[in-house]
Symmetry: C2
Subunit: 365 residues, 2 copies
DNA sequence: TTTAGCACTCATTAGATGGTAGTGCTAATA
DNA sequence: TATTAGCACTACCATCTAATGAGTGCTAAA
């Protein structure tokens, strides 16, 4: 052992949380670790003591660095692929690194322009904007990117329209404040005139405009009992109920999956298979996106930190986007654990910001 | 040379079309060629004379087969990767093989069930059905699959609806006979009341129901001149014009791209890059899909037969789908030239058939 | 016309080898 | 006491070699 590489090793060892451990490295060890990580992010190759000695700002001999590295390895920040290889950061190291990133780095002007350029395209619907955003993000990061479409439940109603399509089918159009248009067909047993549908729609509009779908679904049950004595109204409410229920479960758009396959980190066939499966099984990724909506800020899942086993070899950078009323959905990147966190985090953040602004402009408030 | 391997070589050589050449192989040469192709489709490895001698039904010594192979190679049906390797079929060979497939092979019951199962899901919109179809096809074939959404121009109008969203924005909803709902926002300079919009919509509905968008756009110009003396009506028609113009250029859904990357035929990094680019550049694939709509039946592009250079290493199997009124779009598979044509063709054909039936059911006629 | 036999080609594989990038340990040094 | 130089050691890697084997083309015999 080489002295107090750990400033508060005792505290760290006796403490229960992993967070405490993040604090225990002394300054020089931190420097070495960060440098290893940044070098590795660049080169994707194990970093040796000699290499590091040169690239490091401070004057330290390879031998000294070896000592530090040895300790870092013992603490689980570094591993060796084999005895005579350099060191590679572990998930734990990346977590430490990311935690230590204090000031979010600024996005290069060139990238800013690219993002803004896309956002100013005219005449796009919300879904189109999302598709553009996720495509752009994939292009900028060269990883796979995902975005969830605005959640129906949080959307506020701008307008509902009922259109008679045939004797037993009615087309329901829901326009939300966020500018999303959803349509679906409902089947009815009794035939209604378009006039009747118009008055039902008008009734529903008066009653529910600006309410969230969530609220509407709850209140609607109430309304049902209140008006049930009146036959026509009862029918109207029954229709309304049908119109608002079981909106599509929320979708997600993926882009740039194929980028991952070019990445040197995923070239083993086994990890490839599992990645493909992961993206086919959208529901699991959807869960992660949903979770990232709950709290503000950028969410970072490194390696096994996400709950989806097939993505344990990846890191995910997720953040939410919103209009001026609500958080609508989230957008993010799926890449190798050795991604350039500084860059990716800031690009995701900036993209989400511009996306939010663009969507807010299109919102009806 | 070993005699008349070519039945009508003279005719073939003097003839101009490639089609004639397809007819010139004698029976035994055909047998050998087909067997090589089928073996290669299975194994993806060069086929040697010994192997073939065993797997071939007829009794022929390796030496004899070598002679035949040598001739086939000279005619451009086979190539060798190197001197001491077995033979591999060329694009020309696949073309010959596909042309000789007379009776479409039947789809296995198990696959039929899978396809039917998906098609019976309730309450889906057209886009959802297409997404399911292309996903299923990717799953069944293990290649990349594409489908184009129904062309706006051929769709017939079922209903148009104009909804006032704000002072300067109107939401246009177009419902087509095929059951596709399209929405878009148009910007106007003068504010209109919803009542006015309703009467405009009603006017447009009366006038244009059952007409194709194509027709409407053409006729609308006429209408404009007829009614221009009347101020309100002029406004109405102007609105209608805006509503029908520049519908989205038609989109396409892709699924299973990643399947291609597992395929042993695309494991060189160079061909991979070009494939990724190809799928990013949707417009080119869209062209091929569009072309496949024009004529009935399954369209097969082998290797360089398609006009998109980056897909020259692939074969494409495309066919159209329709409702009972119109051809709506097309669906197909992109895979390696050495795909199992028999199987893929029949699966694509069957899927398109079921897709057509499903969409016809959802149509408003 | 078909086939057996043989010489030849060339990719692939397995071993052997030297070089290299890295480590850990120890003893000398500041 | 912390740092560093030196050295033995390890394991990967590229290169070379030889052996293997699948395949061909050609020729002569059946």
């Amino acid at each position: 052992m080489h002295g107090d590489l750990l400033l508060r090793k005792k505290a760290a060892v006796t403490g229960k949380s992993g967070l405490l451990e993040d604090m225990v490295l002394n300054e020089r060890a931190q420097l070495v670790l960060n440098s290893i990580i940044e070098n590795y992010i660049q080169s994707s190759e194990p970093i040796g003591s000699r290499t590091l000695s040169k690239s490091l700002g401070v004057q330290l001999s390879p031998a000294t660095i070896r000592n530090i590295m040895s300790d870092l390895a013992e603490m689980g920040f570094l591993i060796q692929t084999h005895t005579s290889a350099g060191r590679v950061p572990t998930d734990k190291a990346y977590r430490f690194y990311v935690n230590s990133l204090s000031t979010p780095s600024s996005v290069p002007e060139q990238i800013k322009q690219k993002i803004t350029l896309v956002s100013t395209e005219q005449g796009m619907q919300v879904e189109g904007i999302l598709a553009e955003a996720v495509h752009l993000l994939a292009d900028l990061t060269k990883f796979a990117c995902v975005v969830s479409t605005p959640k129906a439940s949080v959307s506020r109603l701008q307008r509902i329209e009922l259109i008679k399509i045939s004797e037993d089918r009615i087309l329901v159009i829901l326009v939300t404040k966020a500018g999303v248009v959803r349509d679906k067909i409902i089947f009815v047993t009794d035939s209604h005139t378009q006039d009747f549908l118009n008055s039902v729609a008008s009734f529903l509009n008066d009653k529910f405009k600006n309410h969230s779908m969530q609220e509407i679904r709850e209140k609607n049950g109430l309304a049902y009992s209140v008006y049930s004595y009146h036959d026509l109204l009862a029918q109207a409410v029954r229709l309304g109920k049908k119109a608002f229920e079981l909106n599509n479960p929320g979708e997600m758009l993926i882009d740039g999956q194929m980028n991952l396959l070019l990445d040197p980190h995923f070239d083993e066939k086994s990890s490839l298979r599992s990645l493909i499966d992961a993206f086919n099984q959208k529901s699991e990724i959807m869960k992660i996106l949903d979770d990232s909506m709950r709290e503000k800020g950028v969410h970072i899942f490194i390696g096994i930190e996400n709950d989806f086993e097939q993505l344990h070899g990846c890191s995910l950078i997720m953040t939410s986007y919103r209009n001026n009323q609500n958080v609508l959905g989230s957008i993010g990147v799926v890449g190798p654990t050795s991604m350039d966190y500084k860059k990716i985090i800031s690009v995701v953040e900036y993209t989400a910001k511009i996306l939010s602004e663009t969507i807010t402009e299109r919102s009806y408030d």
